[in-house]
């Protein structure tokens, strides 16, 4: 059946359908650069974390919680009611005097005109008015309230009544009440504060505490994620495949950077939602520049803190091979996050200038939680911030070497928990 020359028989080579075969490594692709390896590992971490159910559920929930929280706070703040006082058309001068007195005292008070005493009583009864002045005379003002007159409005109305009595006397004596009022208005107490309190003190302390809480939550979520990720690779043995082509430090660095990036993005999102809303609704009564400065510092401190703790989490995670053992080795690091946080949020509101906080704000392992609180509260001088940043950065540099050695010495060894000294010795 075959043709003329029966000799040149190439056997019918059954080439199986599949990838083009011959590659013996001679034409192997060049090894990827360090930057590309880091980028690949980092990208995988980011996409894995972004896709995780915990992240997909928690992030929107947190945004909703922030919006609802700020909304509730603004409602509550608005609810410290403006009191409204009604005056008959005839008592316009008294109404103007009350407005002026309220302004001078910095009290939020509004005056309205009511047509007649009966209507005024009805409005007070309905709660539309807090008080109504239904008659003025030589013996002062006759005021209608439902239950009682609040102290501030009472004091202001008293001042108005006395002013009117005074005006009457001055007129009777032939003087000019307006001149006297002007002279009285100019006289007052002039205070020289030796150590003036920040009028926004409360708002700044609140910002400090909220900053602390957010950093604490983020560090406690994303720090242990690093340890779990390391153990996932060990327990699934995928680390054996990876380390045939990736150096241990590259794998560790890519993981820390990737998870840190996800944590940072989440915080940026929270800040982008919460800060404009809090400033806009007046919940946070601070200049925008102060708020933005504080947020920027907080994000920087998240990065410093995450680097510190994540390196420790990665190294300790490498010591064990099963997820159930992770908690056992990472507890000390979790305590390093919890303790400064608890000290910070409990001491800061009552004693923002505490010496204890000043010390903790520069100690590298507590600084990432304490220092941003102090910065937000406005109680840390510049040199203290600079010192804390420098110490944290130096500690990170030292930890990169130390934890890198531990990780490399431990990550390939599966089985029972590896002792720290063995991990350091064995490379």
């Amino acid at each position: 059946m075959s043709g003329a020359t029966g000799l040149d028989t190439d056997p019918p080579t059954t080439t199986p359908t599949g990838p083009p075969a011959p590659a013996t490594g001679q034409d192997a692709p060049p090894p990827p650069t360090t930057r590309r390896v880091l980028w690949l590992v980092l990208s995988r971490e980011v996409s894995t974390r972004l896709r995780s159910k915990a992240f997909k559920i928690m992030t929107p929930l947190f945004v909703v919680a922030l919006v609802l929280g700020i909304g509730a706070a603004s409602l509550f703040a608005g609810g410290t009611s403006t009191s409204t006082v009604g005056f008959l058309p005839a008592d316009a001068t008294a109404a103007a005097a009350l407005d002026a007195a309220a302004d001078g005292a910095g009290v939020d008070l509004r005056t309205v005109t009511v047509p007649d005493p009966a209507d005024a009583r009805a409005q007070v009864q309905d709660g539309d008015l807090d008080a109504a002045v239904v008659a003025t005379g030589a013996d002062g003002l006759q005021v209608v309230v439902r239950e009682e007159l609040d102290d501030v409005t009472g004091a202001l109305l008293t001042a108005v009544a006395r002013g009117q009595a005074l005006d009457a006397q001055i007129t009777a004596l032939g003087g000019d009440p307006a001149q006297v009022q002007a002279a009285m208005g100019a006289a007052g107490v002039h205070v020289e504060a030796l150590d003036p309190a920040d009028p926004r003190h409360g708002a700044r302390i609140a910002l400090g505490v909220i900053t602390g809480i957010l950093l604490y939550i983020s560090l406690l979520i994303f720090g242990p994620t690093v340890a779990q990720g390391v153990v996932e690779e060990k327990s699934s043995r995928v680390v054996e495949l990876l380390l045939a082509t990736v150096k241990p430090w590259q794998l560790m660095a890519g993981k820390v950077l990737g998870i840190g990036l996800v944590g940072l993005s989440q915080l940026v999102l929270y800040a982008a939602v919460a800060v404009p809303m809090a400033l806009g609704t007046g919940v946070l009564d601070l200049p925008t520049s102060v708020a933005l400065g504080s947020v920027t510092w907080s994000l920087l401190w998240f990065l410093l803190g995450f680097a510190l703790y994540a390196l420790l989490f990665a190294a300790t995670g490498a010591l064990v091979s099963r997820q159930e053992d992770v908690a056992g080795v990472t507890t000390p690091i979790i305590m390093m996050i919890i303790i400064p946080y608890v000290v910070g949020v409990s001491v800061l509101p009552s004693d923002p200038d505490s010496g204890l906080l000043d010390v903790l704000s520069v100690v590298p392992l507590s600084a990432p939680l304490i220092m941003p609180m102090l910065i937000a509260a406005g109680t840390a001088p510049g040199w203290q911030i600079a010192l804390a940043v420098a110490l944290a950065a130096a500690t990170i540099a030292a930890l990169v070497r130390l934890t890198g050695r531990i990780y490399a010495g431990a990550v390939k060894r599966t089985g029972s928990r590896i002792r720290l000294t063995d991990a350091l010795r064995n490379r």
Binding site: G18, A23, T24, G25, A28, E240, L241, A244
Partner: protein, 354 residues
């Protein structure tokens, strides 16, 4: 292509301990050999490997067999650099393995290793890119290997959602996706259905034909016998027999089956070179001959008793050889197996490897 083993090495005529002189492969296959040279590894008092030595030539399918805990996995892990050897070295193309050479090995670890919660396709692309492929090349290679291994419809699924057999196919794809220059596969066939075994066998043969040295471990000895160019039998951390399956079988003490119905009992007991005799269920005489014995002498003796209906050599199967070699490892003067080591190995097996 290979020289026969010289008779008399070892009790059963099987080569023992690095007596194999690797004669050059007669082929045109490109590529280079993987050489495992005198690897030793201890875990505390326990000897895991003792002078483990063999080579896997370019284009060769090498079967690595041995009892549980004999040292196969330890050897492979040392080749991959997952473990460090106490002594000895691994060479590729005559040069000790460096990190850049190791990244060209395709590896399938015994306990498997993929991210359980990552999608198969993304995972294969990721591994390919870590080995230096561009994103596009990685995608192409992933699709091709998935199609070849029959998991192309599962690329979008998480690894943990796959059946064990498909996970194994994915694992093989992970070992192949970067077009490795060497393949090291630990138990690639365990748990596969017959169809998957065929696919896996074809792929391994094809890679070997492309010049890649392929070494795999297995307990399925019939499969090893069918598939491999050469086989190495490991016991207690050392290579105790190595060579082409046929040669190993030929070198083993052969059994002669003689059907001589009129022969009296014990007719062959006194013949020279006969180690032992027995009868099978059908009344045929089975004789174990020493290596190099003259079977014609036996035939003449059988004919002397009357008619001879059957006279045949029965070669030992690889499984029989394995049992023989592993259970009667001959002591050699140079390297006596210390009893303590044997006990140590038994203990080691129970505790499991780290």
């Amino acid at each position: 292509m290979c020289s026969r083993p010289s008779p008399g090495t070892g009790r059963a005529g099987i080569r023992t301990r690095r007596v194999w002189s690797s004669d050059t492969e007669g082929g045109e296959v490109p590529g280079a050999a993987l050489t495992i040279n005198e690897l030793s590894k201890r875990y505390g008092d326990i000897v895991a490997l003792r002078d483990m030595t063999f080579d896997v030539r370019a284009g060769e399918l090498f079967g690595f067999v041995g009892s549980n805990g004999a040292g196969k996995t330890t050897t492979m892990r040392i080749v991959l650099g997952v473990l460090a050897a106490d002594a000895g070295e691994v060479r590729y193309d005559g040069v000790p393995l460096t990190f850049d050479v190791r990244r060209r090995i395709g590896y399938m670890p015994e306990e498997r290793g993929l991210y359980p919660k990552m999608r198969v396709g993304e995972q294969l692309e990721y591994l390919a890119q870590l080995h230096g492929l561009s994103a596009a090349a990685a995608r192409t290679a992933t699709r091709q290997w998935a199609a070849r291994l029959g998991i192309e419809t599962r690329l979008g699924d998480e690894v943990q959602a796959l059946s064990l057999g498909n996970q194994q196919r994915a694992q093989l794809a992970a070992a192949l996706v970067h077009d490795p220059a060497v393949l090291v596969l630990d138990e690639p066939f365990s748990g596969l259905d017959p169809l998957a075994v065929d696919v896996m066998s074809d792929v391994l043969r094809e890679r070997a034909a492309a010049g890649v040295p392929v070494v795999f471990s297995s307990h399925q000895l019939d499969l090893v016998e069918r598939l491999c160019d050469r086989v190495g039998i490991v016991s207690a951390g050392s290579m105790v027999a190595i060579g082409p399956v046929d040669e190993l079988r030929a070198g083993g003490a052969s059994t002669l089956v003689v059907d001589a119905p009129d022969a009296p009992a014990g007719w062959a007991d006194t013949l020279p070179s006969v180690l032992s005799t027995g009868r099978d269920v059908r009344g045929r005489t089975e004789l174990r001959l020493a290596a190099g014995a003259d079977d014609q002498q036996v035939l003449r003796a059988a004919l002397a008793t009357g008619p001879v209906r059957e006279f045949a050599h029965r070669r030992p199967s690889l499984a029989q050889l394995f049992r023989e070699v592993v259970t009667h490892e001959p002591p050699t003067p140079a390297d006596p197996p210390p009893p303590a080591t044997r006990r140590g190995r038994a203990r080691w097996k129970k505790e499991g490897r780290p």
